[in-house]
Symmetry: C2
Subunit: 335 residues, 2 copies
């Protein structure tokens, strides 16, 4: 029996990953120049296909970074002069907020307890906030915020940039990117690849903001400032020698997903989530950690197993089934 | 016939790369948790072996970053309050200097023309410089600065931190790390791996400087500030989900290099370089770009082919031999 990984990421590899990796290696992709034509077409195609798969508007830019933490840092550096606003409901959304403080910004937050979701539309957000940060799916608690509410922020706050962490929801989430300015994910979650590559999606407005900060001599980073990334991307290149191998394989996996059809993928994910919630909703001892159905994640299902996480994980492992243990303080109580 | 890559990096893959990659994939390395014991031992062993291979002092830290450009940025952010000093002799050393300016520092430089080397010991370096930056081997021109002179900087400037770019010289260069505080390389050069992973070597003094800047509330970055990297490395972890697969394979390649012996590797490289310089030194038309022997690189041999770079590269490619074309303005004149 093949081992099964129900881990939030690094997750199980995509079924075609190995095939594409072998093909790329056979074609010496790892040794090609990242300033040459072969690389340019890999970048062009991957970006065009990602835009098709996720329905990203044509005029948005896609940048390749190393991790989602890097995406968070570059968003703060490039789009926040003084202040950002953060909705926090778990460890990762809190990390993003703390990062803004570390980068010298005066950021504010709306924080709810782990297991709860933020009320996006009734929260007061200060006018001085430049970027509103929302975590679509908080991996650490399994809380998913409603896309319709995220989208409604755009008309409520037309002056602000909207940044959404889609780390553990892409490519599943049916996001309307025209409602937002910045979004990012890493390939080791929904794309079933090894970790080491993140995709940052940037609207024209966000790019303009980054250029404006640059002109004001605000430090916006160096090799990965948005203006540098954009200049390079115009030539289908990256400032640094990038992870050409993973980029190539990502491109192929996206093609496979397009063939399979995204709605198929979405309905499959929804069906699986429904089954899991139905089972654990009726379970005598264990229960879904997120009580309010509106906030329940379809991609990251967190189950409160009443302190039996280690025991259960070990039993499942004997059957070659690997599950992720709870995050941080919930290490022993969640799966 | 197998294709041969004489490219400066991404270079030809190490002969055992494929074997180690397949083993790692068969062991599901790409799906393991980066907070678990299996990952901790990969990190411990890789660091211990790298320290043995390169003879890095025990008390130095090794951090895993995404690219050499990231290593440069983190050095400036974490070790420079106001001013750094840069020896420039080509495109990459110039990039490092410009990065310092972009990050808001008032940096100074000693710059020589492409094809020449800097006189490290007779250059006046201002007392107010906090970090002295030297590029051991400038990939863009094939200029290699003498290690003995780099090492002599330590006693001449005991108050300054010494940072050395060893991107295209490691693991070949016989560097005495106790002479320097910061050094970095990427795995796609001398380690024969795909791009996407860089190693940053940090002395206790450099770490102390980073902590001091942090206490003064100078922005030193966020998830990759030295203090955060160090806290995580104490647990054999990284702040972000790292490139576990490449890290694992790097560990195995370093083991292979240790078995082969580093001096064997070094004498092989020297022998090959001698042959190349002897051949092109006597060639009627073509000649080594670096005239002064003291500055000639043993790892990156740049040949002035009098405008025939494209033509020659095409001819060689027909024989499945791939060479790197010149950098930037030398695209058509150098190989």
């Amino acid at each position: 029996m093949k081992p099964l990984f129900f881990t939030p990421g690094p997750s199980q590899l995509y079924p075609t990953f190995n095939k594409h990796l072998q093909t790329a290696l056979a074609e010496n992709i790892a040794s090609i120049s990242h300033r040459g034509e072969a690389f340019h077409s890999i970048v062009s195609e991957t970006i065009a296909d990602l835009k098709r798969l996720l329905k990203i508007p044509k005029e948005y830019r896609l940048f390749f970074l190393a991790s989602s933490l890097e995406s968070m840092e570059r968003i703060i550096e490039n789009c926040v002069y003084r202040e950002s606003f953060h909705f926090i409901n778990g460890a990762f959304s809190r990390k993003f907020f703390q990062m803004a403080l570390e980068l010298g910004k005066k950021s504010r937050k709306n924080e709810v307890q782990a297991g709860e979701g933020n009320e996006l539309l009734t929260t007061r957000i200060s006018e001085t906030s430049e970027v509103i940060v929302v975590t679509h799916n908080e991996t650490s608690t399994g809380c998913m915020l409603p896309l319709a509410e995220i989208c409604a922020l755009r008309s409520m706050y037309p002056q602000q940039l909207i940044a959404v962490d889609i780390v553990s929801s892409a490519p599943y989430g049916k996001i309307d990117f025209s409602c937002l300015d910045l979004a990012f994910f890493s390939v080791q979650k929904g794309f079933g690849m090894p970790a080491g590559l993140s995709v940052l999606i940037v609207s024209p407005a966000a790019l303009t903001k980054a250029r404006w900060l640059g002109k004001k001599n605000i430090v916006t980073g160096s090799y990965h400032r948005f203006s540098r990334l954009d200049e390079n991307m115009e030539k289908r290149e990256t400032p640094e020698t990038p992870n050409v191998l993973y980029l190539t394989v990502l491109g192929q996996i996206v093609k496979d997903m397009l063939k399979k059809g995204r709605s198929h993928l979405q309905s499959e994910t929804e069906k699986k989530a429904k089954m899991m919630y139905a089972y654990f909703g009726a379970h005598k001892i264990y229960s879904p950690f997120i009580k309010e159905k509106k906030f329940r994640s379809t991609t990251t299902i967190v189950i409160d197993v009443k302190g039996k996480a280690l025991e259960l994980a070990e039993k499942l492992q004997q059957k070659q089934i690997y599950v992720g243990k709870g995050y941080g303080v919930f290490k022993n109580t969640h799966l």
